[in-house]
Amino acid sequence: MSQSNDLIPPRPAPQSANGILGRIQALAAQGPSHLILSVISYAAMAAMIWLILRWAISPTWTAGSLAECREILQGQHGKACWGVINERWSQLLIGFYPKAEFWRPALAFVLLGLAIFAMLRVNARAMERKLAVIPFVLTPYLLWGGPIWSWVVLFGAACLLLVMNKLLRSTNAKADFAIRIAFIGAAVWLAMNISDALPPSLKDLGLEPVKSREFGGFLLSFLIGLSAILFSLPMGVALALGRTSKLPLLRVVSTGFIEFIRGVPLITLLFIASTLLNIFLPPGTNFDIIVRVIIMVTLFASAYIAEIVRGALAAVPKGQTEGAASLGLNYWQTQRLIILPQALKISIPGIVSTFIAVFKDTTLVSIIGLLDPLGLANNIRADSAWTGIVWEIYGFAALIFFIFCFAMSQYSMWLERQLQTGHR
């Protein structure tokens, strides 16, 4: 046997998959079917981008009607007419809310944005979280306006409650609870009756009142969406606890409610809100349509959240409950300190996708005649100056919805990673 000392010649370096050349080579190596698929995909993408750019780049920003757009474009087809956005963008954002009061929703949503940002950070400080409550209390007043006094009372009461937390911590828990209830009751009573006690010159002091039917556009979507998101989470958690409770009656009531709401389309519930709710309430009651819609959307979302939380509760191992019981914790302590923190962490993706769905579903209010972006789009398209406009308005609305929904889903993924404590 001859033994040679020659080295085996080195293999060529692996093909680089970077750079255009590398990518083409990698593609070619994958075989003809992949190559064809890629070519088709690239062609489709190029055609899409070309069509969109060609449509979007259109010097029609100043046009006052579709006819003027056509004049500017001089017979070129497939081009956007941006005049409609230039003329109506403020309407799409706030509806028929008085133009002079535009700063109020703007301020409210800037504050809300800051508050939400402060709350959503994983390592926010307790004080920041408390301060973040203020914009939520302030927003209804900023939006609806009216005499300031009731709000001052409520706001002061809320601030006092926060301080009371510190003062009352050492005393007996039951007395503590009773004092707080009494305090809230007194504040509400005072808020309702304060205007009678004031001299007429001071009575109407405050922001210009704005009626609910003047609300519209994305202002309405955000208002309904945010309120429903805010109220449906605690309610959904309560329903989930009810459905998993050991008490048969609570279980039956929660299950019945959840299954009824989940079995019926939201649009039917909204119709109930707009036409039928008055029949179920004491004769003569007639309250704000926006509040009615918010109640219905909240009930709807809470049923879905309840099912997600129920799944998460089932995923928490039984040993956790038993461990808590062996430490002597009662039901509420067990749920609050042991079970819910774990269950809510598991249910983040589901809850956020429910929130996204709720925000998208706010567009359904256009069907019962509220002027959300889609309702306004119908209005604008019915205007003789803009008949024939389709993609400009819907594209604008779609873009804004996309930005917010996409941001929410990205946030949930980020939060999931942040809260990941397991080792994988």
């Binding site: 994958q30 698929l37 008490l247 989940r262 996204i356 567009t363 359904l364 889609l374 993609w391 996309f402």
Partner: protein, 410 residues
């Protein structure tokens, strides 16, 4: 020796109701029960008072009164002399039609997009991501209205299809896409066994289902032979024949002929007219739900451990056979439960039909009927009951399937 004695029996004290865990749950439930009953009583009482103040009673008699309105999209015979009950049935069938078509197309789109999104090919992967994210993050209603607006305002008018017009029919002069809807060829029965076309179609479907049952028997036998001998008899031609011949025979016997749409005057006649409302609703529902199904399919495939596909390729299976025989059957178990809820969502979302004027059950029973008769309460109750029953039916059917494909554990 110590004797064990029972602790002294204390008399029942009222405070035990609150502090003794044995009694507390009963106390809470009794209180909750009283609250629920009071709440229900309050609602019912208000309703009775309000109804009597409005001079209305609670009565479903309106269902047998003549409806007096037309429905342009219908699967069964209906005229304006028909009753409100019949109008509701037309609406129910329309809801089921669009939900059924939507579920099929959404599943096809979703499975394709979900599988392609896992492709190693960068551009294919990204294109599918654009589709999924684009549809998932924009409201469904916006898509329905936008597609409807595009159809009614972007497509040529029927009169442009006349000789010398600037529009032309597609697919070999058989399909016309106009701003009034899409005209496709239809089948008419010249010597049908029943008076109505719907009954004739039902006969064809019954025959098809019967052939499918026979085909199942053939397959079972082939399976049994394969189990016993290891050789699988060739049955594809038997299956194909069983599927095609009886149904074809029935069609021929009933004198089925194709009827192509053609233009007469300013509009198309003959063929089947698919209205814009149906097309817009169907496409939007399918594209939207398809994006969600794509994510479900992707998650289902990712849930199957990599060892499965490696083992399959070690056995020499080609990639598409690995997908069909190894990955998908296992992934189905993960996919089915969320898929059920997507089908349910699609069915409930079909009630958005009202935005484009498609006459589903919400537009007939829950819309025009209520407006004409003023029976909001009864109409809404019936509507709610219908959706509840439909949801329960769909989930029951899918649960049966789910139980059959589930992993049989000890």
């Amino acid at each position: 020796m110590t004797t064990l004695t029972d602790p002294p029996k204390a008399g029942f004290r009222l405070s035990q109701l609150l502090y003794d865990t044995r009694y507390r749950s009963i106390t809470i439930q009794v209180i909750a029960m009283i609250l629920v009953i009071l709440g229900l009583y309050w609602l019912v009482n208000n309703t009775i008072q309000n109804l009597s103040a409005l001079g209305k009673d609670f009565d479903f008699g309106f269902l047998s009164q003549p409806a007096g309105y037309d429905i342009n999209q219908r699967l069964v015979e209906y005229s304006s002399q028909s009753t409100h009950g019949q109008a509701a049935i037309v609406g129910i069938l329309n809801t089921i039609l669009v939900a059924f078509l939507g579920c099929i197309l959404a599943t096809i789109l979703g499975v394709i997009a979900g599988v392609l999104r896992l492709s190693k090919n960068w551009i294919v992967n990204k294109l599918m991501a654009v589709y999924v994210e684009g549809f998932r993050n924009v409201p469904l209603l916006l898509w329905i209205i936008a597609i409807f607006a595009l159809m009614t305002e972007g497509m040529p008018q029927p009169r442009d299809f006349k000789v010398g017009g600037d529009a032309s029919m597609i697919l070999g002069e058989t399909v016309a896409v106009t701003n009034r809807g899409v005209y496709v060829p239809g089948v008419v029965f010249e010597s049908g066994w029943f008076a109505s076309a719907a009954m004739n179609w039902l006969a064809v479907i019954v025959v098809l289902v019967a052939s499918l049952l026979v085909i199942r028997v053939v397959r079972r036998r082939a399976d049994a032979i394969q189990e016993a001998t290891g050789d699988r008899p060739t049955t594809w031609w038997q299956q194909l024949g069983l599927l095609i011949i009886p149904a074809g025979l029935v069609l021929v016997l009933m004198g089925a002929t194709m009827q192509y749409p053609y233009i007469r005057g300013f509009n198309f006649t003959d063929g089947i007219h698919l209205r814009n409302s149906l097309i817009a609703l169907w496409l939007a529902l399918s594209l939207y739900t398809g994006a969600f199904i794509a994510e479900i399919v992707r998650a289902g495939i990712l849930a199957i451990s990599k060892g499965q596909s490696e083992a399959a390729s070690a056995l020499g299976l080609r990639p598409n056979r690995t997908m069909n025989l190894v990955i998908l059957p296992q992934a189905m178990r993960v996919i089915i439960p969320p898929l059920i809820s997507q089908y349910l969502n699609l069915t409930k979302n079909s009630s958005l039909a009202i935005a484009v004027g498609y006459m589903d059950v919400r537009s007939t029973l829950g819309g025009i009927t209520i407006n004409q008769t003023g029976r909001e309460l009864e109409g809404m109750l019936l509507l709610g009951a219908f959706y509840l029953v439909l949801s329960l039916l769909i989930s029951a059917v899918m649960n049966v399937y789910n139980n059959r494909t589930q992993l049989q554990e000890r």
